[in-house]
Symmetry: C2
Subunit: 594 residues, 2 copies
């Protein structure tokens, strides 16, 4: 972009900014006297500064900081845009109770130009909202409610459109229809970044068809942008594959472009279940997670006319008994008028809330994948020798319920996996196709960490993520793996980690890594240890099996020779010899543990 090689040395005369010293020398009296070691230095007064202070529009802010949104390189930009669009489609389908069917298409339009098209069968968006949903940052329905969703900030898809517009000058194209009785609308729109509002170029009613059939409901997003397409660990392809693991109810069609030696192909990830994840409920904030400042604000804004009503209406898990205890501890009347509670009283109230036992938050607001589906997802996509999964009970950080799930797939296809058969024999596993090379490393490579937040795969910023930190902090040596100091353990293994929460604390707006809240770290550690212990048992058993297998090999290697020797010594017939060898083998195997 910046074309460094094109720069040559400054040669051309140009209207450069005046040297700083001059201005100061011309107006030295204007500057108030102050101790400064640099005579003749330009002196800017508070008044000068005041004239330059002004508002920064949130879209200007993010245009300049587009790496915060995941648009720092053309390669990453394509992934981020697809991710934002697919996440929105999944959220909308689930909220509307529709089994999601999503099509993703990437079409190259120039040397570094791609058009992304994502189409879903979701509930659609009403005409009046389309502009704001796609053409305004910090606008949406998910921010203000406490329930699990992929999107939460009201930034993502508008940011993708903003990036497209910034790099190509082209607006987004949106088609949406909310049902058979409604029209399908096509919008062409861009964002006015100085004012953070949509700029609608055209809108019209169209006949929307897919494969020659009218589309009843759904949304289609097209964005052209400066981008680069490449397969690999952090590609759109990998994101979609992992999304299919974490969303077994999703039917996904992907028109993958050609890349390098790989030809273009149409990939379909069929859905593995026809059941949507359980619907999540919206909850009220839990009293233990409310900061004093927030409490004061809530007291001021409430329409409730008594403290008792306020506590029961505005929070979850508060009933008359809890109110009684809180009021007793804080020495406030249950009938106190909330808006008249002074700051000091509010502080006492806050203290009392913290000291009162209150039931843990309802977890109907979060929807973990579940041990069974984590296991079947891993088994579907990763060929391994050993699988284990665990779903921790829900916990809470800053009042937000969350739940951690961990799954492990260990041992490579075609590896030296051994298993104990029903007949008590140790068999080598049959070699299987290495479907999962890209997901499980080799024996001397660091293990692969597959991170998910609210069912969305996280592909970037691995080192900055609480998940990676927790995996590194776990003592894998105790479970039979090698682990360099302060690093990921080595081995043919993939660890799947999922955090489900009403509010995932991402380290940036691009939602690539999870912040290290202590409560989250603790749950991650416990879940990893739980799976690690089972893995350790398997690995130790594997080592024993290996030793047994070697011994059995010795028996099987030498017994025929013993047979021949016995035949010669005892003058046995061939059938007699074979029978003796068989008996001997049986006796020897029976005398063993396996």
């Amino acid at each position: 972009m910046s074309g460094k090689t094109l720069f040559d040395e400054p040669a051309e005369t140009e209207p450069a900014a005046k040297p700083a010293g001059k201005k100061s020398a011309a107006a030295p009296l204007a500057a108030p006297a102050a101790a400064t070691g640099d005579a003749g230095r330009k002196r800017v007064s508070a008044q000068d500064m005041a004239t330059r202070q002004r508002d920064i529009s949130v879209s200007e802010f993010f245009t300049k900081n587009r790496h915060l949104l995941g648009f720092d390189s053309p390669l990453k930009a394509l992934l981020t845009a697809v991710k934002e669009a697919v996440d929105n489609s999944l959220d909308a389908c689930e909220e509307a109770g529709i089994l999601p069917e999503i099509t993703v298409e990437l079409a190259q339009t120039g040397e570094n130009r791609w058009r992304m098209i994502v189409e879903d069968n979701g509930p659609g968006i009403v005409e009046a909202q389309i502009g704001k949903v796609f053409g305004k940052l910090l606008y949406g329905s998910k921010f203000h409610k406490l329930s699990q969703s992929r999107g939460q900030q009201g930034i993502g898809i508008s940011a993708a459109g903003m990036y497209g517009q910034l790099t190509t000058g082209k607006p987004m194209r949106i088609v949406s229809r909310t049902g058979k009785k409604a029209d399908a609308h096509e919008f062409v729109l861009s964002m006015n970044t100085a004012e953070n509002r949509p700029d609608i170029h055209s809108k019209e009613v169209i006949a929307w068809e897919r494969d020659g059939k009218p589309v009843d409901h759904g949304t289609r997003v097209e964005i052209e942008m400066e981008a680069k397409y490449q397969k690999g660990q952090r590609s759109v392809d990998m994101y979609l594959k992992l999304s299919a693991i974490a969303n077994p109810h999703l039917e996904l069609h992907y028109k993958a472009p050609a890349s390098g030696d790989a030809p273009a192909e149409n990939v379909t990830y069929a859905r593995a279940t026809k059941h949507l994840p359980p619907a999540v409920e919206e909850i009220k904030p839990h009293p233990h997670g409310v900061e004093l400042g927030r409490l004061i604000m809530m007291l001021k804004d409430t329409t409730c006319r008594s403290l008792s009503g306020f506590l029961q209406e505005e929070f979850s898990r508060v009933g008359p008994k809890v109110v009684e205890e809180i009021c007793k501890t804080s020495k406030l009347s249950e009938k106190a008028y909330p808006t008249r509670i002074a700051r000091e009283e509010a502080a006492a109230l806050h203290d009392a809330i913290q000291k009162t036992k209150i039931s843990a938050p309802s977890t109907a607001c979060i929807s973990p994948i579940g041990e069974e589906l984590v296991l079947s997802g891993l088994k579907k996509e990763i060929e391994a020798d050993f699988y284990v999964a665990t779903t921790r009970p829900p916990a809470v950080y800053r009042g937000n319920p969350f739940q951690i799930e961990v799954g492990i797939a260990y041992g490579k296809p075609g590896g030296v996996g051994l298993e104990l058969t029903d007949t008590g024999r140790i068999e080598k596993r049959k070699d299987t196709k290495a479907l999962s090379e890209e997901l499980v490393g080799a024996a001397d490579e660091p293990i692969r960490v597959l991170r998910f937040a609210n069912r969305v795969p996280l592909l970037h910023q691995q080192a900055a993520c609480a998940v990676t930190k927790a995996v590194i902090a776990t003592n894998w040596k105790a479970y039979g793996l090698q682990q360099p100091k302060g690093a990921l353990p080595l081995g043919p293994m993939a660890v799947f980690v999922h955090i489900a929460s009403v509010w995932v604390p991402f380290t940036s707006e691009s939602k690539e890594a999870i912040a290290s809240y202590p409560e989250i770290q603790k749950e991650l550690r416990l879940a990893l240890m739980e799976c690690g212990r089972k893995l350790g048992m398997y690995i130790r058993k594997g080592k024993r099996l290996k030793a047994e297998y070697d011994k059995r090999n010795y028996i099987e290697m030498y017994i025929p020779h013993i047979g021949i020797a016995l035949q010669e010594i005892l003058d046995l017939s061939d059938p007699e010899r074979d029978k003796t060898v068989g008996t001997l083998e049986g006796v020897l195997h029976k005398s063993r543990k396996f």
Copy 2:
């Protein structure tokens, strides 16, 4: 905070949200028919969703995401708040040409409560701006200009106040005076987070004194917050110490609280130079860094009436010759009216700009520390055996000029450092006080990486930072250090890395780590290699010196015995023996290289 231990099992009956299924069963006809596997599931229509879509205020957004701003734990919150206040003070002083003198005070006000007080001798803030500067996010003077400053986003100090208010319910207190002729104003204010605007509780004119003398100009910020104080690698103490290294013109007074065994103390970092860093100039954007979308917007917004004027006025490094070439390549007239240039023409113009050679951006907008000051800063604070520093020439990412500086301090005080004296002898370095234990690790520990951006020390998110990635990616084995695969090298060493830029691409609003733009990675790599090569020479020489030193030790060990033997054989007197020994020693040493 969340008091997990206080939760008991749900026991109390409470007005829980109704199960999702019920609502749907009651109104099945309202939902449009669609393929869904889950009968009876709640069905939300596009119309329902629309009623919930709404604006999110930027301060609501950051309240919920306060970890993005560096306020995720009480320990980090205190550091972030101090950092934002001190950074603002330094920026203001430098812009006004005042040698900065800053006082930082931390006072404990409760179990987990601290009041931070930062006072400077800067130019002050005019009365009308105080509310917005401290009580509104995304407001300031630094965002819209292209010149190096510590603050750049218009978020920091208001966010600190917002955090204080959120956790304690208490407003900020600001005192500011712009000069002898102006009044000193005291403001007590908080932020209205729903509307992102200041809420001024009181303002009055006061007689502002410090140590019994009137204060002529400056600003004082007081914020009370939930916080935790602790000494160590990521403490306020360390931040201030490192700030003194990177800002030798700063005079800093720090009232450090007691902590553990350490008593409270008043620390002063005296300034090492009376010269302010060279004043930075503001520049116009460089044409090579302008994206197409931005160019289109600039063409639309300009007041220039010809393309030629537009290019020369709105960009840096563009003179008549460059205009001529750009217009020729893009087939546009120099006299074309900018606002009438169509999108396709703008694309041609953008292409032409990229293809035209244009002088590299002026670097008067950035102010590196300089090799000399980096070295003296390192020497002042870190006792080591070997120092090296380099300042790379300026480079550009996305049109933003930046400059990388690297310094290395190697070898621990009191270690086995050897040096060649002027007389050609190898001497052991004298043991010195271990001032720098906390900055330089032991021989078998990872080296310390000291990261700075625009002279601000970065203490958090080391793993996520482009600097750390570049240090890890450097092959330190080639320079004589041990280095585990994919990790920091081991050794008694500190690496100082500074990036100076008109716009530092931080990975989050908390400004803790730098994003990995390829151009920045490249410059980091080159600077590290430059210093690394010199370090390698020193380490190899050290190994030779060590070998020589050992040999010399042997000579000195055995020569007296040879002397005694010669004395017996040749029947020498004691003075003759000593003389012979001396001569022998001289001959032997002369015959060596050192």
